[in-house]
Amino acid sequence: MPALTVKVKRFDGRKSWWQEYKVDIKSRKISVLDVLLKIKEEQDPTLAVRYSCRMAICGSCGMVINGVPRLACQTLLAEIKDDTITVEPMWNHRVIKDLVVDTEPNFEKLRKVKPYTIRDLKEIYESDREIGQKPEELEKYYNFAYCIECGLCMAACPVVATNPRFLGPMALAAAYRWSADSRDQGWPVRAKIVDTDEGVWSCHLAYTCSAVCPRGVDPGFAIQLVKAALMRRAKKL
């Protein structure tokens, strides 16, 4: 197998530069994360990469591979046709070191839309009721519950790039997921939060969020559903 060239954009707190590594691999069925770990263990232990589960379910390893934001553990070498891989940290985020970015703003924005069941707190914690949900009600929000909060949608959205106060696809899809859940009663509260300039109305349908989402959550579509509900003044999603 020919040697793979990996170009990584490094940053050490003061300056950033592109560094090239040459790796020998035995098969193309491994992921980019395996290649980066191989570099880390054999050639350069100072390379900082976030990783944890290696099966695309935790969302730590988000980075931009060959110009598209992807999860490193989900990108197999078989999908990349040539022998050069270009890796850089996620866009629109502050870089802490090498490929590790600061995702605190994402979580702050998620917190603002109140992503939890808004119901009588005592009832949730102290009673022993089963609320029950029909399969059709489950289908309404189920697809959007798959979000792993990896932040790739926030990296891909052009509006987040120009307006840092925009809540972003991650938070707005979560707002839809919780509002459409039949067990939740919080749609009036959340409608006020997202019905602003920094909420849904800044979304101009570039739809890159849905294109890069590793779990197929389709946040762009969730935002349009929220907009449709706001326009027809729905009392319940």
């Binding site: 697809n143 120009t162 307006n163 579509f221 349009q224 326009m231």
Partner: protein, 157 residues
Amino acid sequence: MSSRRSSYINVEGGVENMRAGRGAGEWFRLINYERLYFTIQRISGLYMFFYLIFYRVLFDAFVSPSLVSSFDMTVPGKVLAALFLVFLAFHGLNGFRIMLIEFGIIRGWPLRNPIRNVPGLRRSRIHLIYNVLMIIIAVAALVYLPYLVTYGAVFRP
């Protein structure tokens, strides 16, 4: 130091490490189709704004109407005018498409498939038909409108 635009994002080491994609440079990363429409919408919007307001209205009213009409008869003038009309067609059609989506008239539902997930918008037949129509009309406009400007009755003194 904190970034000019947002106080809760603190940057250590200056803005160099944030260069990767902040600001208007983001518009030019084309990853999917709708991003292309988004970029053209932005650029056409800006262009039309400058052309219409600064050139046509303000220049014409306050600076010199004769300069405007003489410039209009030259080739660059006609090119700019034709460009304006083409952009208007595209911007309008795309804007209408966005309105239909936001009202919920065009909608599909996402498909979860183990091999490849399909986003909801791609599964809407109306959206596909509208897209095809839009592209056909845009291309037709690209061809016809410059012709109209050159030989026809638009933008004549």
